[in-house]
Subunit: 234 residues, 2 copies
DNA sequence: CAAATAGTGTCTATCAGACAGTATTCG
DNA sequence: CGAATACTGTCTGATAGACACTATTTG
């Protein structure tokens, strides 16, 4: 029995790219130009190009770089969503990726597109069924929710969310970020302890003043490995 | 731009099915009957049948049920492995699943196949490069190692490994299982505390005697949900 | 009673949570 | 100096690790 006996499913790649902007968590959405789901908002992604892409991760990276102008500092595979009904064109599978970036590092701020084809969309507005709500294309709502759960889970036991922040950032910014992701308040002391224990960061020597006492700026160490902790936050 | 512009990658499903047998952790391997990798050992899996399978999980389940006679009590998606080079027939992706079962519940013990086409293979022997070692087909070694890491990780913070045990089991059996998976000794007390705290199990009323004092037998409660703990083991 | 296996009591170590205290900067 | 923001000291509470203790069964 060989693959010639089988109709081939469609295979695509989609990514959920998170950032923190204007004190809220957002993901990148694109307006679809083509059928199916023409003019609906959708996750960045598309078909694998077997000539260009060595792997599905290459496809994810290529699509994200196309849209943002930069390669996200964090990208991991999320899950593959497959079914006979998720795409009206037939049996299909989408290999979904989960990525983080600082919006300041992308070109989406400096060149806001006139046609509004790409937007950072507030995660809260996507969760709120009662809002002025347009459903996302395909099963992208489900993929987004899966990604959000993963981000929340990892925020409990790793330093991963720092990849939503720009290259230089303060402990206060990190604290705010974690509280936004988890949707509840977390003791500063707890985060500061973990931040130090991770040994992933170094002081830049610069400080950032926003009102009163200036906060120390930190950056990732060159050789930093992402640290996981043995316990979860509350 | 539509999918007609793209050559379609091959899409398969493969599963890593773990069990505990003869005091060691084993996975199910099948001897390939066809090219490529004819006569090599491989993970159970194959092409998606878009007529039979509603989703990739259906494919995984169908293949495992074919081989073992039963549906595994635990099945989750692991990761999708894709590249232009993992299959000599061309660009391919395999959606890999991770499953657990008690070998006693399968028909592989009662009807050992004469042709030796299906075998429980010791995980240690697969890790040991120096042993009389035949490489697995495709990138199945890599998939297996990914699955083993996941199992070890989940053993640290959840009760998941119980699905390697038969429907009725003792705390001693659970203790032995965890020590085999983690490859190190764990305090009985710690596991017993978690076992109780999980509230997932109930006494059967029966006991099992193997030498001296008889051990209480436990089974999963009907409505039991898999519990995750806030801290990792050692 | 000795040996073997099952299961418990209890102390310590670690780290998250709570929260008050000190430090720095601006007006 | 007071207000605002940044950061630290230190106590409490929860739970994993260590390990000695008790319980049950067989011979």
């Amino acid at each position: 029995m060989t693959q010639e006996n089988f109709k081939s499913p469609l295979l695509t790649v989609d990514s959920v790219l998170f950032t923190i902007k204007d004190n809220s968590l957002k993901i990148l959405l694109l307006k679809r130009k083509n059928s199916p789901f023409q003019n609906s908002w959708a996750l960045p992604g598309g078909f694998i190009d077997v000539d260009k892409d060595g792997s599905a991760e290459d496809t994810a990276c290529r699509k994200l770089t196309d849209k943002t102008g930069v390669t996200p500092p964090y990208l991991e595979q999320l899950n593959t969503f497959s079914s006979k009904s998720r795409d009206p064109r037939g049996w299909s599978a989408s290999i979904a990726y989960f990525a983080l970036i600082a919006h300041e590092e992308t070109n989406l701020d400096v060149t806001p597109r006139n046609d509004e084809s790409a937007q950072w969309v507030d995660v809260e507005s996507l969760m709120d069924e009662t809002a002025n709500y347009q459903p996302l294309a395909f099963d992208h709502q489900q993929i987004f929710q899966f990604a959000l759960e993963r981000l929340k889970q990892k925020a409990l036991y790793s330093m991963l969310p720092v990849f939503c922040l720009p290259k230089e950032f303060t402990l206060g910014e990190y604290h705010t970020l974690i509280e936004i992701i988890l949707g509840k308040s977390i003791q500063k002391k707890t985060l500061y302890r973990r931040f130090e224990a991770s040994n992933m960061f170094e002081e830049t020597g610069e400080t950032l003043a926003t009102g009163a006492r200036a906060a120390m700026l930190y950056r990732l160490k060159e050789d930093a490995e992402l640290v996981n902790f043995e316990r979860n936050l509350g």
